[in-house]
Symmetry: C2
Subunit: 230 residues, 2 copies
């Protein structure tokens, strides 16, 4: 069960913070800041300085006592950790509303994530282009992914088609699926799935809005005498 120290798994909590460090360091870099302490990062990010030091130490000793961290160096390191030093080829599956919005969004390509092909089952869309990227029919997806050595598939299809396409994709060289469908995707292979469940996010917001009213209800609830069913 015990793993050698060097392979100690980095916790999910840490991983989720990495993009924040990346973003923050990029901003500092743009402002020509040369060095930064965990203290300063703490102020900007709202995490404790201690946590920042521990987070970074999961990946190496990037800092220096009495000096702090070199912004440029740390930025480079975190970029490497996140796999941002190499560019990534993506395909977009589903050219509906959401799909089109994602295709039109340029923010990803500035970080080296480029959509190289779009797929849809609607014959009216096939053959068209969005931002110079051709839309192909889904039946060609396996071939095109393998041929172009694509990394990531963005899933923006209707819910009921998600499973079928995920299975198709899992037989290609794809490494990760960025899933925008509400469906929970399970692929047997070692493909990574990252979910963007908008409804969950909206419901969480709704919960917090509702929280005040809830408190009153809770008290009553807890005092309630359990009733027999039927």
């Amino acid at each position: 069960m015990e793993q050698p120290d060097e392979f100690k798994k980095v916790s999910m909590a840490v991983i989720k913070r990495l993009p924040k460090y990346h973003q923050c360091l990029l901003n500092l870099l743009k402002d020509n800041v040369e060095r930064v302490s965990s203290q300063k990062l703490s102020k900007i990010l709202g995490f404790t300085a201690s946590q920042i030091r521990q987070d970074l130490n999961n990946f190496g000793e990037f800092g220096q006592q009495g000096y702090g961290y070199n912004v440029s160096q740390l930025y480079t390191e975190i970029s490497k950790i996140l796999g941002l030093n190499t560019s990534h080829k993506m395909v977009l599956v589903g050219a509906g509303n959401l799909g089109q919005a994602l295709a039109n969004y340029t923010g990803f390509s500035t970080h080296g994530f480029n959509i190289v092909a779009i797929f849809d089952s609607n014959p009216k869309l096939v053959g068209r282009k969005i931002k110079d990227i051709s839309i192909y029919h889904v039946e060609d997806i396996e071939y095109i992914i393998n041929e172009n050595d694509v990394d990531i598939a963005i899933l923006a299809v209707p819910q009921d088609k998600a499973e079928k396409i995920a299975i198709k994709i899992s037989k290609t060289c794809i490494r990760g699926i960025w899933n925008f469908t509400p469906k929970e995707i399970t692929v047997n292979s070692d493909i990574v799935v990252e979910n963007v469940h908008l409804i969950d996010s909206l419901f969480t917001l709704s919960y917090h809005i509702n929280e005040g009213k809830l408190q009153e209800r809770l008290i009553k609830q807890k005092r309630k005498i359990s009733l027999t069913h039927r």
Copy 2:
């Protein structure tokens, strides 16, 4: 520091799982399943049965020994907890690509979240409609929000405009902001902010894809002798 038991705060981890319970129970309801045990839910959701029982117990005693949970009743309870028993009025700020995609998406309205107005600063868009919802100029936003008793503002504007609009909005009757801009939003009042940071999500995916290669790098890194700066 100690709070009375009844007001014990529900942890974020639990809250994030509530939408999953909601979704799952809706599916069971559709399949006319009358009762369900934590065991069965565990199979479907992939959480442990123990966790499910503990999660639900944060809000009340909804189950019955030897019987389990009544699907319909539990669904209703969780809906109430999430604030889904009443409908919510939303405004969409920003009718760009992402904004249009969100406006066209019908999934929210089936859960009682309705967009009642759209705002943009582009005069070419103002006056048009998306799915029968009018696009107004942003300068009218405060008036329209208050007049219509709007709950939630969806922020889908360019990054640099996010802060300004957030401040505007915070002076209205709005209760929550659903933030799709990469910017971290801070409003002083008791408005709830829920972030959808797509780039973070993509980077997390990239991290996991990159994880294998990283392991090798890590070992070297840890053995590296620290060098002096400059």
